[in-house]
Symmetry: C2
Subunit: 532 residues, 2 copies
């Protein structure tokens, strides 16, 4: 039957075409690693993307071919998002912080043919070049001392190009997850999933983007598609301010100079920003909103930003979810809440936007779907149009037949739809048939002024099955005992959650993305024994 | 190839499921025609929609069958939007203000099997019943004196129902256009087009919906899907306040009592509201935003609402465009504009949201695409995922092979994407090879305090091809001459736009939707002759 409404293939090329047509002169500012600054606009990004698509075809690349990027946030990286998708290719944004064996694995596994990289990562290129068996071309985004420079490369083209057409479900981007076990796994974003995710991301409950928005994304472009910001921003025609370095002094100056209204990043970004402002004795930048995700945002951070007049949007998602799962904007009862209640609400992970469906399963009996009662915690599952079906080259689906994908997170669903994360499935501690959240123990412990970092893991216990042990890194020069820590925890956690032991360590192991590696911690203390 | 991301069929059932799941207790308030008030919530709407879907199946309705509604805005009408789509049916929202022959034509043409109606429209039902050849069942939304009542009808079901699955491009709603010539034409909205349109409608540049929004839509549910508000509102989980009557006193009280933040309607709604507030000596309601569309919003209305602290969103669209084409929210240079400049900008029709593409063609040479220079006016065309492809039962497409649909409007595109409507293609006046906007002439003329209404049409002129004649309805008791009107127009329009004649008439003919019918005016003055 002929359609009543128009066929319109959801392709990323519509996004950049719209931005260039309707917001062509809206600026894209980049502060480069060498301190220089350049300005282009959505029209310029599109023109360069057309040239880049031509340049890729001139290299012999075909539809479905993979192009890797090893780069920070800047306008040329943005060009590559649209240029690669525009010629029907797939952009693989590589995390430069990965370990060497992971870098080797993912580039070979994705079969990347071109490597676009920042000059600052030349040492990585030099080390990896011989190990990457599929990469045929190296292009340097900035200097080009060792490779052809990006500007010269695309500059040889005239931009007279028609975007490649194709299916909505063609892949356009690959991001690898950096799990704590096994090889990284590739998540392939599709044109359709990307467009829907970005469109949903515009809404007030998510990024709240209008043409007046000025966004400085601190979240790297190699992390879960930079949360989809480069696509959503183009749809709304926002102004982007990119920084290729994350030095708080640089970010702070950019925010003031460029009239930045919105930012997005992990909590540590704000930690560094607070320290910078305190040291300099200056105010925080007057942002309208800060989207914070990647890991839990501490209460004091929420409070300080809120007191600064900045709307804090605590978001949850993962590479497998494009990544927006939930975002915490003001709820409808917001005006009736006290400041404390607002902070409580903001400390949770927010509510799912349209498209995302969540449920929690009993940790002991995964056939049992838990009530949304704001109390019962369970294994969090998610499904929807921008949620993973299958990892790249995997032989089985990552989602079950009904579309439910196991997030590996443990959380509580509240009656108003709010998600409250409490732990990771593999880290939650089972004691006497009941569950203890390792994350909540850690969060309580780091509130102690002498505790720099804390990690709780479950250790075998002959009677209770598992009991929590807290590993603590003291602040420099601090002098505290295990009993001091336990005393501090009293009243802050349920009595039966009290760790059986507090052990002081010099350091706690981390993953490539900076998260605590409980796996490595468990390995290190494999012989640890609790007294019965 | 197996998908990397999940298959997820864009169906309207996802919208109501999401609203009930995530915002189940968010209220839907109705003020009925008899003065009573009822309250339900998104969870209640879904439960009733499930029962209604069952009730429709119990009547023998199948996928693709049409259900008509002849109703004002209320919660039961809302239930039917989701209930009909949920059983795979198609809701045909009938405009009760249509003329009898149009009412007869559209219900028979759509082949509606069920008629849902408000008791206040019983006289229409009584008159049309014998003429409607396909309608088998009559259900009354409220009283049910003459037919089964809606509540009894769905109340007989238990709601244990699974939504009908189907294709994204299945139709879900039909709205007929009420053109000035020929029979009305049916526009079929599809599940996919409706979901995309609603998702795009959430963004700050459109309805700006978050869970905190409280919307009283004055635009009827039988007008172009009430601009998609019932879908977008469900996606964001807003509170809806419906009124089955449009009395300004009722609307005003509801806005204050229910904490309404947003409204949407045609300009005359606000005209009546201004008059009411002036008469009562009270302030306008403290709305955050008013979306105004359907016809051009006068400057004084924009000014008054803006001074009231209400963001005015001047929108343009038509039944064939779902209807959002452009919406005028603040542009990125907003803060730098003077109040006058803001009003100027707001008086235009706004900018296309992502998904919508516009162009203008030379009125003399339709092969020539005009520049977006903010000066040249031309025939406006539109394309995108929620734009019509083909009218119901038509034998040819309404859009050209590239998807361009002729809107019949004449407009100017500005470099920043803003659309400025100037006329209708069939009303614009061609004089000596140049075009004169009949609408601008009319708008200038109605600024005269003694002019109640004005309509300009082009009359044959032996030398200039056409010259404008202005037909004027005087205010009661006013005593003005043609020269007075011309004198008033001087300086407000280009000198060569000055009407060759000003004719006073007792009335100007209107269409069923209240627009000036230039066709009828031309017919009435078919023998009119201008002196050469």
């Amino acid at each position: 039957m002929l359609g009543a409404m128009q066929d319109w293939t959801m392709r990323i090329t519509h996004v950049i075409d719209h931005a260039a047509r309707e917001s062509g002169t809206r600026e894209i500012v980049t502060r480069w690693a060498d301190g220089s600054e350049t300005r282009t606009d959505w029209s310029g990004i599109r023109t360069d993307a057309l040239k880049m698509a031509q340049a890729l075809e001139a290299l012999g690349l075909k539809t479905g071919d993979k192009v890797a990027s090893l780069a920070m946030n800047h306008s040329r990286h943005l060009v590559s998002w649209y240029g690669v998708a525009g010629m029907g290719g797939v952009l693989h944004t590589v995390n430069p912080r990965l370990f060497e064996d992971q870098l080797e694995y993912i580039v070979n596994h994705a079969e990347d043919k071109v490597m676009l990289y920042d000059a600052m990562f030349q040492p990585i290129i030099d080390k990896m070049r011989d190990k990457w068996t599929t990469v045929e071309h190296y292009i340097c985004f900035d200097s080009g001392d060792q490779s052809q420079s990006f500007e010269d490369w695309i500059g040889a083209q005239d931009g007279a190009y028609e975007w490649v057409q194709g299916s909505e479900t063609d892949p356009c981007m690959i991001c690898y997850t950096s799990g704590t076990t096994g090889n990284p796994k590739g998540v392939q974003y599709e044109h359709r999933s990307t467009v829907l995710h970005a469109l949903a991301g515009l809404q007030p409950a998510a990024f709240n983007f209008s043409s007046a928005s000025v966004m400085l994304p601190v979240v790297p472009m190699f992390h879960a598609a930079s949360w989809g910001l480069p696509y959503a921003g183009a749809m709304a025609g926002i102004k982007f301010v990119f920084s290729a370095v994350n030095d708080p002094a640089v970010l702070h100056k950019l925010m003031l100079d460029e009239g930045v209204t919105d930012s997005a990043g992990v909590p540590t970004v704000w930690l560094a920003h607070f320290q910078y402002c305190d040291k300099e004795g200056i105010d925080l930048p007057p942002l309208k909103a800060a989207t914070i995700g990647g890991s839990a945002c501490p209460r004091f951070m929420i409070e300080r930003l809120m007191k600064n007049g900045t709307r804090v949007q605590h978001a949850w998602g993962m590479t497998e979810t494009s990544p927006i799962g939930t975002v915490g904007g003001p709820t409808w009862d917001w005006d009736q809440l006290s400041f404390e209640e607002k902070v409580d609400k903001t400390a949770m992970q927010g509510r799912p936007i349209f498209g995302v469906e969540l449920r929690t399963l009993d940790l002991d009996d995964p056939t049992k779907v838990l009530p949304r009662d704001g109390e019962t915690s369970g294994a969090l599952q998610i499904r929807g149009p921008w949620i993973i079906q299958r990892y790249l080259k995997a032989e089985a689906d990552a989602a079950d037949p009904e579309g439910w994908f196991d997030t590996g997170d443990v959380g509580i669903l509240h009656p108003d739809g709010t998600l409250q994360l409490t732990d990771r499935t593999k880290d939650v501690i089972k004691s006497g048939g009941e569950w203890i959240s390792s994350v909540e123990l850690e969060n309580a412990a780091v509130g102690h002024p002498d505790v720099a970092e804390a990690a709780a893991i479950g250790m075998y216990h002959p009677k209770w099955d598992e009991r929590p042990v807290l590993f603590v890194v003291k602040n420099e020069g601090a002098d505290i005992s295990a009993d001091d820590v336990k005393g501090y925890l009293e009243g802050k956690i349920a009595t039966w959650w009290m760790p059986d032991a507090v052990e002081f360590v010099d350091d706690i192991p981390h993953t490539a993305t900076g998260k605590i590696s409980k796996k490595d911690l468990r390995d290190r203390f494999a012989d640890y024994k609790l007294e019965g």
